[in-house]
Structure formats: C-alpha cells, structure tokens
Subunit: 303 residues, 4 copies
Amino acid sequence: MAGKHHWFHDPITPDFTQLHSLKEIVHTTQTQFQQAEIVETGSFGRCLILDGKLQSSEKDEFIYHEALVHPAMVIHPNPEKVFVAGGGEGATVREALAHRSVRRVVMVDIDGEVVKLCRDYLPGHHRGSFDDPRLELRLEDARAYLEQTRERFHVIILDLPEPIEAGPAYKLFTREFYTLIRDRLEPGGTVVVQSGGASYGRTECYTAIANTLKSVFPHVYPYAAEVPAFGGLWGFTLASLGPDPLAMSAEEIDSRLKARLSRPLGFYDGPAHQGMFRLPKCHRQKLAEETTVIADATPFYIY
Amino acid sequence: MAGKHHWFHDPITPDFTQLHSLKEIVHTTQTQFQQAEIVETGSFGRCLILDGKLQSSEKDEFIYHEALVHPAMVIHPNPEKVFVAGGGEGATVREALAHRSVRRVVMVDIDGEVVKLCRDYLPGHHRGSFDDPRLELRLEDARAYLEQTRERFHVIILDLPEPIEAGPAYKLFTREFYTLIRDRLEPGGTVVVQSGGASYGRTECYTAIANTLKSVFPHVYPYAAEVPAFGGLWGFTLASLGPDPLAMSAEEIDSRLKARLSRPLGFYDGPAHQGMFRLPKCHRQKLAEETTVIADATPFYIY
Amino acid sequence: MAGKHHWFHDPITPDFTQLHSLKEIVHTTQTQFQQAEIVETGSFGRCLILDGKLQSSEKDEFIYHEALVHPAMVIHPNPEKVFVAGGGEGATVREALAHRSVRRVVMVDIDGEVVKLCRDYLPGHHRGSFDDPRLELRLEDARAYLEQTRERFHVIILDLPEPIEAGPAYKLFTREFYTLIRDRLEPGGTVVVQSGGASYGRTECYTAIANTLKSVFPHVYPYAAEVPAFGGLWGFTLASLGPDPLAMSAEEIDSRLKARLSRPLGFYDGPAHQGMFRLPKCHRQKLAEETTVIADATPFYIY
Amino acid sequence: MAGKHHWFHDPITPDFTQLHSLKEIVHTTQTQFQQAEIVETGSFGRCLILDGKLQSSEKDEFIYHEALVHPAMVIHPNPEKVFVAGGGEGATVREALAHRSVRRVVMVDIDGEVVKLCRDYLPGHHRGSFDDPRLELRLEDARAYLEQTRERFHVIILDLPEPIEAGPAYKLFTREFYTLIRDRLEPGGTVVVQSGGASYGRTECYTAIANTLKSVFPHVYPYAAEVPAFGGLWGFTLASLGPDPLAMSAEEIDSRLKARLSRPLGFYDGPAHQGMFRLPKCHRQKLAEETTVIADATPFYIY
C-alpha cells in the first residue's frame, strides 16, 4: 500500500502546516461570512473547516468542548442562565445543557448557514441539543444582541474563531466587548473565552486575550488542554467575578460533577481540571510578559 | 509574499503529517544504525532528525529534556549517580548535571556517529556537557553494558527513540530490560522512560510502556507535557522504588530545585510538575485499559 | 484568499510528486484488482485514479486518447476491426469508433467494476460509446481472450496501466504477449501501446516497451505527446506490419481524417502527427541505448 | 525506507503544485530584485530558484537552453553579433558562443548578485562561458541599455523570467520593448523570447507573448519543448525579419549545425527542430484565439 493520497493542508503558522488524510469532502459552501466545509478525515473523523482552518473534529471535539465549558460552569455554585456566543456546531450548548442546574441557554451565532450545516452534517456534535427546550438560538451578531438586552447570565461562554482580517469576529475580542460581557453577568458570574493556540511559541493570541480580560475582570485564570486536531495545546481563559478555579480540590470538582451532570464526561474531571490550570513556567512567563490590550480601535488578527 | 517553499515532511501517523519549513539541511549522514540529519527549520530552529523523524529542536528541546529529567531527579532525596541510555544530543545529561548533588553520570549511546554529529552541530543542546568531568560517555549497547556492570544508580533515565522495526532500540523497551534496570537501581531509586506520543488517539506506545513498567516496578506514574515540535503531548513514565511524585507540593518542589540546581530552568517548576502528573480522564482510561506487556519475545514497533 | 487546502498527492517518482487541488472525492472503491476513485480536481476536472495514480482527466483526456488511437488508425488504409485491451474509461473505444471505416471493436478489460465506475461517473469520457452497437465489451483477461480466439484485427490498441508489482497488468507487457498480438493482426495491421512517461529522465518504461516490441515487429515507431495531468510527455509506441507513420505528409493525414471521421478532433491532426513522431536527440538516444526485452519470465515493474 | 522527507514545493498554478525532493539548500540570498536560491534536488540535481519558482536544473537545463538558443541561431545564415537579455546562469550565452560564427555576445542582466551566485554555484551551467573573450557582460536594465545603444545584432535572445507583480521584468514583455528589439536587429535578424509554460490549459503567458510579438514583427513562430523540471511543455516564440524556421529540412539543419558548432548538442538537431515547430491543433487554436497585446500601460502578470 502506497500510503494515503488525499490530504487536507491546515497551515498553523507560516512555518508549520498539518496534513490530515482526507476520505471525503462532504459539503462545501460559501456563506455570507466565510467558507465552510464538512470533511471526513482519516485522522480525526468528520470535521468542520472554516476558511481553510480546522474548527473541530468528531474524534476529539469532546476534549475541546468539555475543556471550554465545564470549568466555568463547575466553579459557579448554581449556573441557571448561560449565554453562548458562537459555537455553531452545537457542542458547546450540549455541554452547558448537561448541567441539570441550567434552565436557560441563549446561543447567538452570526452565521446561520454554518449552524444549519452543522445541524445537518455533524449530528455527533450537537446530539440533538438544538431541540432542547431550554435553548434559545439566535442568528445575529452577538455584540449587537448583548448591547440591546438587559438580561444577565450566570455563565458566559465565548466560543468564537480567532479573528482573521477578513473574518466576522474581530469585534468580539476587544476590551469594549469584554466590558459589555462583564455588565451582562450576574454577581459572582463566570466567563470563559476560547483563546487560540497555547503551544509554546505560538501563544500570541492566547496571551493577548488573557491580558485584555485582565483589564476588565478582577480575576483571570488562563488554562490549557491538548486538542490533537488543533495541533497541540489549546488555550482558554476563565474570568470571574467571584469563584476561583484554583481553590477547588479534585474531589470537590468530582462530587459537584456527580451531583449536577445528567451524563458522564470523557475528558473533564477533578484531575483534568487541576492539570489544566497548572501551567508550566514558560507559559506563565509569556502570560506575565504580555502587554497588549485589544481594543475596538486596535484590533488583533492571527495568521 | 509567496509563502515558504522548502518543507520537512514529518509523518506522525499514516493519517497525519506535520510540515516544518526548512531553511537549511545542515548535515546528512547514514550511520551504522540510522539515517541522521541536522536541519534548520523556520518553525523550531535547528533540529536532529533520525530516520526521517524529528528527534529534538533547538526551540523547544528544553521542554522535552526538563520534563524528562527533573521529576525523577527532584523526587529523589539525593541523586548522586545517574545512568542515561541514549540521549545522543547531550541535553539529557546536561539537565542531570545541573543538579549539584550529582557526582557521576554514565551515558551509554550505541551510535557514536550521532553523538559526534550532535557534538559538532548542536552546541545549544549539549552546552559543553560532554566535557563535564562527572560524565562517563560510552558508545555501546546500553543493555549489554548494564548486564556486565555491577554498579547501581540513584536515577536511571531512558532517552531512547521509540522502537521501529529496522531500528536498534527495540530490546530496550521490554520487561526483561526493565527488570535489569530495576536491578541496577539503588534502594529508593527512580527511573524515567521517554514513552512516545501521548496525544489522545495516539497513545499506544505510551500506554504499553507504562503497563510493561507496572509489571516490574512497585510504583509507576505516567505523565505528559506538550512538546510542540513533536506535534502535541509527549508521554513519560516514572517508575520508582520509593519516592512518590504526587506526594510533593509545588512549594516543596520549588524549594528543592532552588537548593539543588546550579542554574534556572525554562519549563519545569512546581506548578509544571503538578500539571504534568494530573492527566485527564480519557488519558487515565487508556492507561487503565492497556494490557500489553512488551517482552523480548514479543517486541513492540511504532509507525 | 488563503489558497487551496485539499490536495491529491500523486507521486510520479520517489523524488517528484504532483499535487492537484481537490474539490470532491466523488467515489472510492476497492475492486477485485485495484483501488479505484473518481475525484473532482481544480486543475483537471473529474479524474479517474487507480491505486493512487491519476489515470485520466476530464480536461486533457482528449489529448491522451487522440494521441493513442489516431496515428495507428489513420496510417492504416482501412481499419474495420479493432481490438482494445484495457481502456476502462470508454474513451479509447470512443476515438476508435469515430472512424467511419470501423465495423467492429472488441474491448477487453479485466476490471468490470472500473468499467462500471467510469460508465456511471465519467460520462464525458465515454460519451455513450459503451452503447455503440459496433462494440463488444468483454470483462476478462485480455491475454486469455486473445489466446483462445482466432479472430484477426486491423488495429490493436493496448491501453493498459504500466505494470506495478501488485497490479494485474504485468503479463500484458511482455515479448510473449506482443507475439500473440502480432499473430492476431491482419496483414498490414498496426498496433499501438501506451508506454508510460516519456519525460527526459523518466523513460525506463517507454524505452523498454519500444525495445520489446522491436524484438517482435518489423517496424516500430515510438512517439510522444504532452498530457499535462500526467506531468509531462507521455510515450506511445506504434508497431506495424506495413504502414509507416513517417511517410505521410501533414496534408495526407488531414485529408484522410476529413474523409473518415464522423466528428472533429481537439488535439490530433497532420501537424500534431508530425510533431509527435519527431523526437529530440536525447530521446532517440535513450531509445537506441535500451537493451531490455521484457519477457514473461523477467517482468518489468514501475514505481 | 520511508521515502524522502525534504521537499521543495513549486506552485505552478493555484490548483497544481510540484514537489521536488531536496537534498541540500546550498545557498539562499535576497538580492536587490528577488529571492535567489541554489538547491540540490533528488529529481533534477542542482537548481536555481528565483522567488520560489524553479528557474533551471542541472539535469535538464540543456533542453531548455538548446531549445531557446539554437533555432533562432541556426536559421540565421551567419549570426555574428548576439544580444542576450537575462540568462543569469550563463547557459544561454554558452549555447550562443558554441556557434563558431559568433564574434560578439552582449549579455545584459539586471541582477548582478544572481549572476555571481550562478557563477559560483552552477559551474555546470556556464561552463566557463563568462570568461569567453567574445562576451561582454553588463549588469544593468536591458531596456535602458538597448535604448541608449545604436548597435544592431543578428540574433537577440530574451531569457527573462515571466513577469510577476513584484518582479523586475514586466517592462521587458511589452509591445514597446519588442519594437525597440526590432529596431536593434540587423536586416534579416531573428529574435527568440522564452515565453513561459505551454502545457495545454496554462498557456496564457505564451499566447499573449506570441500575439504581442505579432503586433511588431512580420513573421512570428511559436514553438515548444518539454522541460521536465518546469512540469511540462515550455513555450518559446521566434520572431524574424527574414529566415523561416519551417522552411528548413531536418537534413539542412543537421548539416548547418555540423558546419557551425564547436561541440555536439544533447537535445537539439534536425528532427527536434521539426518536432518543436509542429504544434498540435489545440495549441495552435489557443494561439490563434489570443487577442491580448501587452503594452507598457497594460502589463501582464503570471501566477
């Protein structure tokens, strides 16, 4: 056998590219906002690709989505109202809805065509979450939505692609937007922001987001988990008006999960939580040295 | 700008390949045992490649070598005698020699041509360690050497490439060899084994090594750290006749490092140590489910 | 625009690979004999791939098939009976059937699944030729068929993939098979053999086929045409019991085409014919220096 | 053996890329005008790369340079004075100087750093031609040079990279420049222009150059030869104030070569000449349909 011959080329940086073997290009479309594709890879199963970048894979999306959602949820004593920006695959709301405490989730994604694509082609991602009666799905700009609403949430989850020059998301990564987010939190609320690559040497996005959040929130906790399909460590930033993720023991987390969740998880538990928040020295140093504060007037773009 | 046009293709699995931009192919040679190359990449600086697989990079080798060496050294109360198998770049002995407690390091690498190549072309890796008077460097088979010596060590570090069918290393990953290792340890000694990829979905080598060590040692602690040039999480296994890496607080580790090390580290410290040993649920599950015990008669090969 | 991100990798030699952008993997199947795929490329439209090698493309198959079929047909004064071995796409018989003189075409292809695949997915290739009442399609081994028949043909066309070790075709490239071919020709008949790459530096297959035919036929005329999807010049060998392709002027060829064809061609005409048979010095030299005669007992395999 | 792992990626079109295995990146430099590299490939030996595009290879440069130079030289009855624009490798002047009739060659290349690079690293290309006393080498803009001189030449050879947006060469592909060229020819003089890819489907540059020359010269003869390292057929255009390349028999060409050349050739001779000028129908059609006339005010750029 001569090896695989169809490949998806995913450029991670100008000097580093990942190739995933391709079994099928299931669907390709150009939405109003981006090029969206569903492909079947040999390495990671069915994947969503936006503008040529892998967004999530059937095989390891559980790592990404559990790492994104559960820390901010678990450390909150009683998350009833959750706001999700982005997350078109439906897997972020899936994880939020797994908490029995949750009574209402508002998900706002600007690209209805991507949501529909995921609904049709990624059943393993959403697993029916779009039909959960607790979910209100809105297809519009998340910032505009939050500006006009007066509702407050216990947990806010920003699951947005890192900003590229042509992309729709750059105004959702700024100090102004994070200020708006803070104002829409209930007292003691928590926020989590997917923050891009966190591999040593490619943390510019991650550290800039963490630093920008620091300019708005009293407590900010960067953390990371490896998502293999993304090519390494992935960064998340938890910002909080109260609860402290470092203050909970593995046992407390496990017992809270047990009490609250309607089904078992694959990646996240007490030890996973503790591992994610214990960053190595060089990562903490990069975070400490960051001075960028992203603002509407000085946006930030990645490769 | 048209993008980079020279690339090193590093096949990680049959379905996944990493491309590193290439600035220079510094040196290529076929030794008695393997094809060895020094290249300069745009992504990770100067790299050693053996049989077409990236072995270590200038930019992030400190992560790999600190993660490999320091846990087993730090948890040992007074490591004076250290044995290293492999580690041709000289960076493993560099980290061991950084502990002031160390009085003698025996390093045995079968491929003298690779050691010479690294000595000539990777000065940033060895940083003069080959000239440390505490080092005895032997160019021969590590197993044969350990079989004929009666010397015992406080810490043994196995820094060997994962076994490929044609490669020289497969007999250094078996229960029989690990039994020999155990017999060459001083009471209360520790061992660490570089264990291959630990990304979710590619942990076969890592879990098999951990399970094989469990058949020989009373206490076995798998851990992982992300080495970006290797494409994700990398696995290590610590086996111990006494000390327990989970029993030490971050503060204790930091104060022991402070007392013992002759220079600051880049990656490893108390929080890093704690993060590495707190594996997520799915990783612990893969480790728990493993049944393979590698033996001389039933060797193990990777892609 | 970030460039294309899905690619078909087609290894031409161990040192040279072509990448075609991929729009769709239309169909993939493993037949009894080979892996067969239909893909849609950005470079060459819809393509047939066998065992990872591009076989023919929508965009330039007319060059290959016209170059293969028409010289041997045109120099024959009255081709009525034609035998085709291989040619599963149906385009070779399409070109033969375009000659009004033709009354009967026997096509023998061993892989009925490939024929069906092409029939279903490559309508632009066969354009209904499989339904021409003059065609007899047989799904069996061409050599076995010719051994048992007593029928003789005016023109025989061998449109077979170059032999790879695991492939079904190696016995259709030997002196013994060419002797059988010669015995199935009418007096004054002509044969053409698709002969693999003819780019300078990769002509081993081409020159070996030409030399093997020389050991059997009185007159042998190698020629070449560029098929872009194949990455350069492609080789063909015309063997003849009489007619001489070098003896006809461009005008004679054009007038014979005009008299005989039922539709216009895209690539082939008098000047094209003359260009194809006028090989440069270095190609003629490679052909002259070849000493290999492929035999059943000493088969020939390509990369 | 796992195959080659270092590759030079040469994008031919947005949908088609060629990969050459890389043995060494011999030298890389950024000149005032372009990025220039010498590399050693497994496929084609030592190569010159400008701005990421392969310019010529040790293994098949003789095809390109003989095809470029000899037709225009051979059909001229007595070429004594030759002008070469570009041709930094020194191989174009090498071929011109092989004609004993030549008494003076003026070569003008704008990029002295590339000329020096080739002189140092491509001895097989220039073979000492830079030291031929008949050569005058000038490092300046060819157009500016021709504008100020009053000298006239028997043969003018334009060996310039096809124009890319950022490149220095776009003003050497326009009607205005070709008019200047015509004015610098002796009566009965000939011109040849390297004209870019001529593979079916990628002939935009080739046909535009031919059509532009037609707006200036009385007789224009496009022709093509396969240069494997360039990925297929390569286009050339011969423009003439008198001699007709189609009027000479293969025998006449061979006898003129015999009388005039100081050494044997590898690619070019009478049959090669005749093959190159006999283009297939689809190529002649593309040439006939072309309407673009490149002008200073409306330049032409390639991918």
